[in-house]
């Protein structure tokens, strides 16, 4: 099996699906000859040509608006937003149009657009090349949200995403785009949407995260193990609809949880996870679920290492929940 990083895995999924599905079209800024600023679409313009790999003018609202139109007509557009921070000019098209089209037309107009976008910090990107806006989309009825944490899942989840019929936001953890490497099967396979992955088994505390936080959770789990603490690690993979069952099962076992994300804490997705777990499993909780998140400040540049959740902070939350 070849070894790939996340970008290569994404690229592989895109090219497999472009070959299989003639209705699929890619569009975005710099995705053509340049192959995307992170090179995720590298080689696709050469193979599929400028009619199916479309460099657009600089306007995210136009990219998503056009992608919606294409999907209404029956194509399978997979637009790229260069950085998640630049998705906001398309926000109206995404939340008012894309998310609501099937519903508002009484089912006449499904709108299967898969938006790919790199998100997250840790690359010295400052305010505008680091944001993690997943909560905004999770709160928007009609959108699915998926975030892989490794090459295998990236390819398998993206293939699943492109073959289902709902609007879906596929957020790629750019911090580990290249750093996360692993074996990835050649050719076709899928990883199911809506299913979390048990990354590590343990019975004292459940760590819950996704995307670029997953390696950090594993690191924290190692450190905890060194302290003699047995920690379970869950990678959510699909954020909406999220796999609450797996979380509840784990929490029932451990009685303690720590939820981690890069996005600011307040009204972040972590709050939903905590609330959902409390709703169904409060009686099993030995301590309040801890949240280790980005702070409620714009994402900083020089001090980004202070902003980003790291394994020490997570470890400290693990101790807090154990000592509660």
């Amino acid at each position: 099996m070849p070894t790939m990083n996340i970008i290569q895995a994404v690229n592989d999924a895109l090219s497999i699906e472009m070959r299989r599905e003639p209705k699929m079209v890619l569009l975005g800024e710099d995705i053509g000859k340049f192959g995307g600023v992170f090179r995720a679409t590298s080689g696709l313009f050469e193979e599929f040509g400028g009619d199916r790999v479309i460099d657009t003018p600089l306007a995210e609202g136009g990219i998503i608006g056009a992608a919606i139109g294409m999907a209404l007509y029956g194509l399978r557009p997979v637009p790229e937003i260069q950085f998640a921070d630049f998705i906001f000019p398309a926000f109206d098209q995404i939340v008012n149009e894309l998310a609501k089209f099937r519903y508002r037309s009484g089912g006449q107009y499904p709108c299967p657009v898969v938006i790919r976008t790199p998100y997250g910090g840790g690359i010295r990107g400052g305010h505008y090349h680091s944001q993690s806006p997943e909560a905004l989309f999770i709160h928007t009825p009609g959108l699915k949200v998926v975030i892989p944490s490794n090459p295998y899942d990236a390819k398998g989840l993206l293939l699943s995403a492109m073959r289902q019929n709902d609007p879906l936001l596929f957020m790629e953890p750019k911090r580990i785009y290249r750093a996360s490497r692993g074996e990835v099967p050649e050719g076709d396979y899928t990883v199911p949407l809506g299913k979390a992955k048990l990354v590590r088994e343990g019975d004292q505390v459940t760590l819950i995260g996704y995307g670029s936080m997953v390696p950090i959770l594993e690191e924290a789990a190692e450190k905890a193990a060194a302290d003699g603490i047995s920690v379970e690690v869950i990678d959510l993979r699909t954020l909406l609809p999220f796999d609450l069952e797996t979380l509840i099962t784990s929490i029932k076992k451990t009685g303690r949880g720590v939820v981690v994300h890069e996005a600011p804490k307040t009204a972040g997705f972590g709050a939903e996870l905590v609330a959902s777990i409390c709703e169904r499993a409060m009686q099993y909780l030995e301590a309040p679920i801890q949240r280790v998140c980005g702070f409620d400040i714009p994402f900083p540049y020089t001090l980004e290492h202070e902003y980003m959740p790291n394994s020490d902070r997570i470890l400290s939350a693990v101790h807090t929940t154990l000592e509660w």
Partner: protein
């Protein structure tokens, strides 16, 4: 001719009929079968009848909301220049476009009521139609969003190597939105087969055209995107058909998009919620009534021997009867079933919607299901 849109304007305005419906000198009428001429008039009569009846229902408290198009009916029939397999992305004020393409009076009235037969299952306000079988795209309230979508549809048509085109309607107020710009620009670059049809009816709710843009015309925007811009008398049905035909032909040939500005006027309020007396001079609509598109077209047809008062009265009766029947048929309809409220958010119900649906169904109903 003098520009009655209020803006200083040096660009030509395409016209075929004068204000009395007489062919202008030296101008040739576009080639249409007589039967079509009559059918077009019939659709305008239907549109006006529907507007009238729906607004009355609204005033009686029987509809939540309505939007009339009085004086703008000719613009709706730009779609005459299209084929059935072309697509239309309307805004909320082109009733006639729906009728021309085959949308039923009864369906229209059901949508107004948001009842169990409403094709969109009571999910949006009145006037937010959707008819996939007619290639008419679901209307949404946020203005302008349909414009880039139309470009996407046109790009898809292009990719599929069809000679289909997409036509999208929007108001002159809406042309101030970012969506207008990004759509025009993208269409220009991709030479997408799309017709941008701007209904310049002089007002965006209370904002007059002069406060909407300092451009001499809206058509003048086209040059900046490398496409032709055409100004047409929006109350002159034949002129509208002619310029739209040209734009459609151009798009089918692969020569790309066109921006059409139809200069017309919103005679009444913006919607049933509006009261234009607060912000505009009553003399303004009065002046425009003299250029009524139905009057002009009726005169033209009469001159051609295609229309008589008797014929028109028959049309009116036919439409009013159909509308009356459709309204009556709504008297005992139920609301869409509460069981369906969670359907079609996604293709399949995810667990959290299954759960929420069960919760909702477990609550006692606050109203009887057939009240809507």
């Amino acid at each position: 001719m003098t520009d009655r849109s209020g803006a200083a304007n040096t660009e030509p305005l395409v016209q075929i009929l004068d204000d009395d419906g007489v062919l202008l000198e030296g101008v040739e009428a576009p080639n249409l079968p007589d039967a079509d001429l009559v059918a077009l008039f019939d659709t305008m009569v239907l549109t006006r009848a529907m507007d009238d009846r729906m607004m009355r229902l609204q005033r009686q408290g029987r509809l939540g909301f309505y939007m009339k198009s009085l004086g703008e009916e000719a613009t709706h029939l730009a779609v005459y220049a299209l084929r059935e397999d072309d697509w239309v992305l309307p805004s909320y004020r082109e009733q006639g476009a729906w009728f021309w393409r085959g949308y039923k009076v009864s369906t229209f009235v059901d949508q107004m009521h948001g009842n169990e037969r409403d094709p969109i299952k009571g999910r949006q306000m009145p006037v937010h139609h959707s008819a996939a079988e007619l290639n008419m795209v679901s209307i949404s309230s946020p203005v302008g969003t349909q414009i880039p979508q139309a470009v996407g549809i046109a790009m898809a048509m292009q990719l599929a190597k069809t000679d289909r085109v997409a036509l999208t309607y929007f108001g002159e107020g809406t042309s101030s939105s970012g969506d207008f710009h990004v759509a025009m620009n993208l269409a220009g670059v991709r030479k997408a087969p799309v017709i941008f049809f701007c209904r310049n009816n002089g007002w965006a709710i209370s904002v007059p055209r002069s406060k909407q843009s300092a451009g001499a015309s809206f058509a003048s925007r086209a040059a900046g995107y490398g496409m032709p811009g055409v100004r047409v008398d929006g109350n002159d049905l034949l002129a509208i058909i002619q310029v739209t035909r040209e734009a459609v032909a151009r798009a089918r040939r692969g020569d790309g998009p066109t921006l059409i500005e139809a200069v017309t006027y919103r005679i009444e309020g913006h919607s049933s919620s509006d009261d234009p007396s607060v912000y505009r001079d009553a003399a303004e609509p009065e002046a425009w009534k003299k250029r009524d598109p139905l009057d002009r077209f009726r005169n033209y047809l009469t001159q051609k021997g295609l229309m008589t008062p008797g014929l028109e009265a028959q049309m009116e009766t036919k439409h009013h009867d159909a509308i009356t029947a459709a309204i009556a048929a709504c008297d005992h309809t139920a609301a869409p079933p509460v069981e369906d409220l969670f359907d079609e958010v996604f293709e399949q119900l995810p667990w959290h919607l299954v759960e929420q649906r069960a919760q909702l169904l477990a609550y006692p109903r606050v109203r009887s299901p057939h009240k809507h």
